[in-house]
Symmetry: C2
Subunit: 214 residues, 2 copies
DNA sequence: CGACACCCTATTGTATACAAATTCCCGCGG
DNA sequence: CCGCGGGAATTTGTATACAATAGGGTGTCG
């Protein structure tokens, strides 16, 4: 996608993530085109992508609405993420380069710094945490896997979750990252896979505990 | 997607699967529009979808080519399918309705009949085998999972594989299906998951043995 | 008062025209 | 002969116009 399409995608995604377009609200191509300052064509492409990523849902008569996830959806999403990202970690462990390992270390150092700040710098934590996981997915060198994980939208959940995380959970996360780095440096796929699985499951449990309403 | 888009998607996908558009060959929107008898607009949508499903790849300058999978790609694809579809089987085991179970039984009966014929009716086997797996995926009731598995293109591989399958492999497949039905009827998620995992892994091994060149 | 049919409007689907970008080829000069 | 512009041609990106279709509202009839 080139400029306008990309812009429309980011814009609409932003509307959904910030809650400006709340779950269940209808989306019309023309209105979005106006908001984004482009024509319907790039908006349509953006909407197709958002639909594939399940940010928006389509009724039988082709009308689009902002997706509304219930707790079952979220649980399923975390389960899939745990499965796929653990697989990515296993692949990454046997393929990752020294440079990428250094990137991971640097990234986790920034995460640790963000946590150590008072108050904890949650925004930086989110950005760097995401980057950490992206490095691993990239190191797994599987376009299929990367595509699937991209579709497993995580931002809205992470955002809601992290705001409720305590220092303890953030620290534990950084510690698990450190163990992941160890596992990968040791080229131990099984270890990396196991750590990643529990890492994501714990994130889910923390989320469930913090936001039991779904 | 409505009529024209859908038609374009099916048409282009057909070109790729039959080999009329061989791996690595360039795809231009206008040529495809001519072939499909529609304008570029629905062709573009079809191509986006095919790109997401990795049937086609896009260069840095937005030109599209038929994807060319090597043996590593295929192995990765089977691994992911085994993982995701086993998860689908586990979910299906705890959710499937009596009616869907009957559908599975009927479907497997048709598979058995196709195998019993002399010579074995491979075309019917392929269609019904696909349907069998689709019923399970549908019973898993996870749109995310369904989307991902749809993207895990299987047709070209299955096609290439089944043509080389012997009666023994086909029979074993039907037998494994029967065991899957048992596991689901017993509402045994772990059993269903295990059977599905080995079912797909065996298919992969048979494929590798039959087509070691990739 | 309720149900049904019809029309009108809102929204999406498709085609086409035009703009931007990229590639390819040809001619030129070293 | 090779490398290097430069421009034409091909190809994709975007906008807009028009067609088709679904939904809602209203009026009428039972």
């Amino acid at each position: 996608m080139s400029k306008a399409s990309e812009r429309a995608y980011a814009e609409i995604r932003g509307l959904i993530l910030t809650g400006d377009a709340p779950p269940g609200s209808p989306l019309t191509e023309e209105a979005l085109a106006d908001i984004c300052g482009v024509s319907r064509t790039p908006v349509r492409e953006a909407l197709r992508r958002l639909e594939a990523e399940l940010y928006v849902v389509r009724t039988g008569s082709q009308r689009l609405f902002v997706a509304d996830w219930n707790s079952d959806d979220l649980a399923e999403m975390f389960t899939l993420r745990a499965m796929l990202e653990a697989h990515a970690a296993a692949r990454a462990a046997s393929r990752i380069t020294a440079a990428a390992l250094d990137d991971l270390r640097a990234c986790n150092a920034r995460i640790a710094a963000a946590i150590a700040a008072t108050p904890a710098d949650v925004a930086t934590f989110l950005v760097e945490n995401r980057r950490f996981h992206e490095i691993i997915i990239s190191a797994a060198a599987s376009p299929r896997l990367a595509t699937m994980l991209a579709a497993l939208v995580e931002q809205p959940v992470v955002r809601r979750t992290a705001a409720r995380y305590g220092q303890a959970e953030l620290s534990r996360s950084a510690h698990e990252h450190a163990e992941l780095i160890q596992a990968m440096a040791a080229r131990d796929s099984a270890w990396a896979q196991a750590v990643m699985t529990s890492h994501i499951r714990r994130a889910f449990h923390a989320f469930s505990a913090a936001a039991p309403e779904g």
